[in-house]
Amino acid sequence: MKSIDLITYVTFGYLACSVLYLIAQVSGSQTKTIKGWLLGALILVFALHTGAIGLRWIESYQMGIGHAPLSNLYESLVFFAWCIALALIIARFKFGMDLLVLLGLPLVTLVLASTSLMDPSIKPLIPALQSNWLIAHVITCFLGYAGFAVSFVAAILLLMARESDFFARHLPRRQTLDEIVYRSILAGFPMLTIGIITGAAWADYAWGSYWQWDPKETWSLITWLVYSAFLHARLTRGWTGRKTALLSIIGFGAVLFTYFGVNYLPGLHSYF
């Protein structure tokens, strides 16, 4: 089987998991064991996803142009989805909250489904990407993004719980949600910082300048500034609940724009 087909199956796997999670959630009672099974299924799909990325890596070597599968939009989206799924699974075990998975999985499915619009062929690395910094830069950035995605999902849940009593009755305690909003950013922020630093180091090495105010660089800085404001507001001004949830949502908007929106602006990252 080729990695591209495997990714298609993985996409439907995530879709099936989200639908089943939803059914388990609305059917109410006696769902503990079902959800346990579903978590197992999710981990299986995630393992397949991991395998597909590995397979693509191997395929590129078989083509004689071996490189890590992080070199174009298709590959980066597959990896982005992988990071979000990983963060969801970690958050599920850490906070024991199935709703997080329920709301996060459609995001994973959506990201993966969007890869069907991209050119999935394995291309040789263009000179600008032939660097060992590529892997460190992409992995740290995306792990950061994944943390922010989990925070975003929790922030949405928190706002829903605040806005309506109906939701509040069916959602976890607000303090728990608030804690997830904060902790996921606390985990993602250093990752984004290291991602920006490795990007700067790479830029310095490749283009002779660690910072050139290229739109992608600038937007990653904007994202960094927003989350940094979040952390200061929460740690020193005691912001919680609605205010920090809104900041988390704004921050994730900046993440998405850094990732997708900037591609429509000219710049050094035009191949991503």
Binding site: A128, A201, Y210, L225, V226, A229, R237
Partner: protein, 449 residues
């Protein structure tokens, strides 16, 4: 949670209130948050308004606004710089305010706690110390430190955590400092050098030319492609010359710069400036094929004829006609005439032979970025400090237990105050359990408050 706001002073207050207002402004985390948002907003503006150095006619309100606020050059504008300066002072202010507390925390003198409780016991302090201290030492995996004040014992785990906050914030100041050094003492420019020639100066991004302390001589440029046609490698083979003598030689590739005397040279672009050689195929009457290699500024006998050919110009194939050459051909006793040989239109008859265009070797000029930035090292030091700071903040778990025994009339008061960065609930549970078990198992007079 209302914080202090700058400029809040009324006339009835002392004169010092203005100064204290300024101090409050620069030591407030609220200022930090506002500055972070303003910087984010400014950065967004910079990605929306095109950042160019050319300014068109200033007529409309929006173009006037662009000029006043430097919106075409946001990141170097006066207000963006001001925001960064304010942020630096704010960082310094916050550091100055918080640093003095750190030595106290380090030595365990701080009273800051995540939880604390008091107990009373009828036994003597000495007796209580004897049974309680070993248990807590076992739990914290270390011996207690005794502070000067009476019977106070302190256990501290991972105290290096305390350095995380100052490191992160000093790091940001260091990075900004590195940026300023680069801004004042560094430069960037570009130089285009033809294969086989050398350059001793380059043009700065502002347009001025600047001499180099050495000469760059380009021996060759090559562009290799993958079978699919995508570029695989751009390579410039260069020599560095000082006073005409070669001091260094090497290749510059994308992602592989060359640095000499602190000045780095990067592969940036290339141009086809001329032609090195054109290869034509000469087909004789007997269908025999011979190659004819033409170089600029030299004439060549066309095999099988008594014609001489000279290269006039090469059309690199940017138009509809495709790639081809203009030649000047002549034989003795005849005026020279020009001949066009294009790949698309096929071979051209000349006397008894046919001339066809085969291919050509271009003469490249390689575009190199020239960069010098003494601030880079400072920036990397800052980044290193930042990463260490994050590591200390996230992956160490600062924990402190302070226990004080005080003799009161008939009983001993035990005060327990603890601080923990994470896993607070679990920490509290463990500490309470240890103390309860140690004391209650022997006497019922201890009670939790």
């Amino acid at each position: 949670m209302k914080g202090r706001v700058a400029g809040n002073s009324s006339s009835t207050e002392e004169k010092g209130s203005i100064i204290s207002g300024i101090v409050a402004f620069f030591t407030s985390a609220r200022t930090t948050i506002v500055l972070l948002f303003l910087l984010a907003a400014g950065s967004i503006l910079g990605t929306i308004v095109p950042q160019t150095h050319e300014i068109g006619p200033v007529t409309s309100f929006s173009s006037r606004l662009i000029v006043i606020l430097d919106l075409n050059n946001v990141y170097r504008s006066w207000w963006f710089s001001l925001l960064l300066v304010l942020l630096s002072f704010n960082l310094l202010g916050c550091l100055m305010e918080r640093l003095p507390a750190i030595p106290g925390e380090w030595k365990g003198r701080s009273r800051r706690s995540t939880f604390s409780f008091k107990l009373a016991d009828t036994r003597s302090p000495a007796k209580l110390m004897e049974i309680l201290l070993p248990k807590l030492s076992g739990f914290m995996n270390r011996e207690p430190e005794r502070s000067g004040k009476g019977d106070e014992f302190v256990w501290i785990k991972d105290r290096i955590y305390l350095l995380g906050f100052p490191l992160i914030h000093i790091a940001i100041i260091v990075i900004l400092l590195g940026g300023v050094i680069g801004l004042f003492f560094g430069y960037r420019g570009h130089v285009l050098i033809k294969e086989g020639s050398s350059a001793q100066q380059f043009s700065l991004n502002s347009g001025e030319t600047k001499p180099l302390p050495f000469a760059i001589s380009v021996s060759a440029f090559s562009l290799t492609r993958y079978p699919s046609g995508e570029p695989k490698e751009f390579r410039s083979d260069i020599k560095i010359l000082e006073n005409g003598e070669e001091v260094r030689s090497g290749s510059i590739l994308v992602n592989h710069p060359l640095t000499y005397k602190g000045i780095s040279l990067f592969q940036s672009d290339y141009r086809v400036v001329d032609v090195k050689e054109v290869r034509l195929t000469v087909t004789g009457q007997d269908s025999s094929k011979t190659d004819l290699l033409l170089r600029p500024q030299s004439s060549q006998q066309i095999p099988g004829t008594d014609y001489e050919a000279r290269l006039l110009s090469l059309d690199p194939g940017t138009t509809q006609r495709g790639v081809g050459v203009d030649l000047a051909v002549n034989k003795k006793g005849e005026d020279p005439r020009s001949l066009r040989v294009y790949k698309k239109t096929g071979p051209v008859q000349l006397g008894e032979v046919q001339l066809g265009f085969a291919d050509y070797t271009p003469l490249y000029a390689t575009g190199l970025q020239v960069g010098y930035d003494p601030g880079t090292l400072v920036v990397w030091i800052g980044c290193g400090l930042l990463i260490i700071g994050f590591f200390l903040t996230l992956f160490t778990n600062f924990r402190r237990i302070t226990v004080t025994f005080a003799k009161e009339e008939t009983r001993t008061a035990i005060r327990v105050s603890c601080r923990s960065r994470s896993m607070r609930r679990e920490f509290r549970k463990s500490v309470e359990e240890i103390i309860r078990e140690t004391l209650q198992s022997r006497s019922a007079q201890t009670k939790m408050q």
